[in-house]
């Protein structure tokens, strides 16, 4: 079975694959701490302003969030299938699974965009135009939305990177004569994709199910 070309610094292909895998997991540990800072800020403010968070959460479209969760879970499934297909030299199925993954990722971003638009229309975007009709201190409700936009926004940026990476992988697999040469790269892309999915798995209950 063909493998990715061996880079000069490695002794053999096993070492190269091990290095890539460990590198990816180390990177994901970094990402955990990157989002971890936000989750910490969220926890502190939710403890400080429980009522405001509850009231603010009511203004979100829980159903859009739930649909998006379903979209992302499905995309993780198709991503896992893509990794498997390419490892088993099933090029056609691999490419189609990758494209499905990218399509679902795009769908997620579109839904998120619609949601942002609705939030904007309902004056839920923090800043000068933030709605004033709250039973709680508006600055506390605004804190919820600041965190909501930063957390989902950073997640969306990660999704954008992920969709791009998945499309690049689909292109490389399509172009390459020996599909398994890309197996490792696709697997690494998959790890990243699943990680971004896991971040959303936590964002969903924390942001949408406070009430």
């Amino acid at each position: 079975m063909a493998e990715a070309p061996l880079a000069h610094q490695f002794d053999d292909i096993v070492q190269q694959r091990e290095a890539a895998g460990l590198g990816m997991w180390t990177f994901l540990a970094t990402e955990v701490l990157f989002f971890g800072g936000l989750f910490t800020a969220y926890t502190v403010y939710r403890m400080s302003y429980p009522d405001a968070f509850r009231e603010a959460c009511h203004h979100l479209y829980m159903w859009l969030g739930a649909v998006n969760t379903a979209v992302l879970l499905t995309s993780s499934w198709t991503m896992a299938l893509a990794v498997r297909a390419i490892a088993t030299t099933d090029r056609r199925s691999g490419i189609s699974s990758l494209l499905w993954t990218a399509a679902l990722g795009t769908l997620f971003l579109l839904i998120k965009g619609v949601e942002y638009y609705l939030d904007l229309r309902e004056q839920l975007v923090p800043g000068a135009g933030f709605r004033t009709a709250w039973s709680v201190d508006p600055s506390h409700a605004q804190m919820y939305f600041v965190l909501y936009f930063i957390m989902t926004g950073l997640h969306a940026v990660h999704m954008l990177v992920g969709v791009g990476a998945v499309l690049v992988m689909a292109f490389l697999v399509w172009r390459d004569s020996q599909v398994t040469r890309r197996a490792n790269a696709v697997e690494m892309t998959g790890l990243y994709w699943h990680f971004v999915d896991i971040v959303w798995i936590f964002l969903f209950p924390l942001l949408y199910l406070v009430a």
């Binding site: 009522d51 039973s135 709680v136 201190d137 600055s139």
Partner: protein, 336 residues
């Protein structure tokens, strides 16, 4: 606006003027001794081995490896026990230095770029100066109008950050009348270096005279008052009326809100936090966020509106001082 520093000469040791200062000095001196001991030990080892085993020196160089980790255990356990002892000692002194006595006299401090504003309970205000009596515990109730500052009096060996949006406390009991440095220790912007002032410690009698002197007549420093022993000034609070506090917080038979007299200093049962002591922070928070803490027996959410963004720090001090003045006396029916 900067008050002249108290004049001092060159010295290697800071002067000491509070009851807590010697405690902190003692920990410091012990640490100095420890530092000296270890620095000399390491120095002696380096010098001793360094000279004895220098290249070219004719000594027996034994290459037996020590198989027992006895040495390692020594210098793991030794520092551990020393560290533990200093931790406990430091913690005890720290708790004494940060826990104000219940009977301490409260004085309010508001930091703002780049000056210290002080308000005494009787209404007397000063800027970049703090007059206090000696021999009496003083509790500073501090907040900031803008960024973080830090109230630091080296002669008292104590400092505390002054934060916007909340009260922090610094307590001390001055021992010697005199004038002492007051610094802002937390960087706060362009003129941070000039946010200096002085603490004037007076005998209790002098302090009473100073307090009673007409605030508008006193620009800075002590102004002599011929009126002798001053009466504690009567506290009334225009803010209490202006913000409509009296509409609900009256000693009437069916109050919409809890009566306030005797409230300060009480320990209230509170379902979400166990219990809460009514101090300055509690009153402040209850005025700004009525729902933050609901004492047991009251309905949540509170019907009281939030006064956040309506009330400035000085009105807040006025309200708190007014509530504190309502010790056991029934509330007056008519406020001025």
């Amino acid at each position: 606006m900067m008050t002249a520093d108290p004049a001092r000469g060159f010295s290697l040791w800071p002067e000491s003027a509070s009851t807590g200062a010697p405690d902190i000095d003692r920990v410091y001196i012990a640490l100095l001794g420890l530092t000296l001991f270890f620095a000399l030990l390491i120095g002696a080892l380096a010098l001793g081995f360094g000279v004895k085993y220098r290249a070219g020196a004719q000594v027996i160089r034994d290459r037996i490896i020590h198989k027992t980790p006895l040495l390692e255990i020594t210098w793991i356990l030794g520092p551990f026990l020393i560290a533990l002892a200093i931790f406990v000692w430091g913690a005890v002194v720290y708790m004494d230095a940060t826990e104000p006595p219940a009977e301490a006299r409260a004085i309010y401090v508001v930091g703002q770029q780049w000056m210290w504003k002080v308000q005494h309970p009787g209404g007397r205000r000063e800027i970049n100066e703090l007059h206090v009596p000696s021999g009496e515990p003083i509790k500073l109730v501090m907040t900031s109008q803008d960024v973080i500052h830090s109230f630091f009096v080296p002669a008292f060996r104590n400092k505390r950050d002054v934060l916007p949006g909340q009260y922090t406390y610094l307590w001390f009991e001055a021992t010697r009348p005199g004038t002492y440095h007051l610094f802002c220790a937390e960087y706060c912007g362009a003129d941070h270096a000039r946010m200096r002032g002085r603490v004037v410690v007076m005998t209790p009698a002098d302090f009473q005279r100073w307090l009673a002197a007409d605030p508008s007549a006193a620009t800075s420093g002590e102004s002599e008052s011929a009126s002798g022993e001053a009466m504690p000034p009567t506290i009334d609070s225009p803010a209490f009326v202006r913000f409509g506090c009296d509409d609900c917080h009256q000693a009437s038979p069916t109050p919409a809100g809890p009566a306030l007299h005797g409230l300060f200093g009480q320990r209230l049962p509170d379902p979400s936090h166990g219990s809460a002591t009514v101090d300055e922070s509690y009153l402040r928070q209850s005025i700004l966020e009525p729902n933050a803490v609901i004492a047991a027996g009251y309905a949540a959410p509170s019907t009281m509106p939030s006064y956040a963004n309506q009330i400035d720090e000085y009105q807040m001090i006025e309200l708190i001082e007014f509530i504190k003045s309502l010790r056991d006396a029934p509330m007056r029916e008519a406020l001025p």
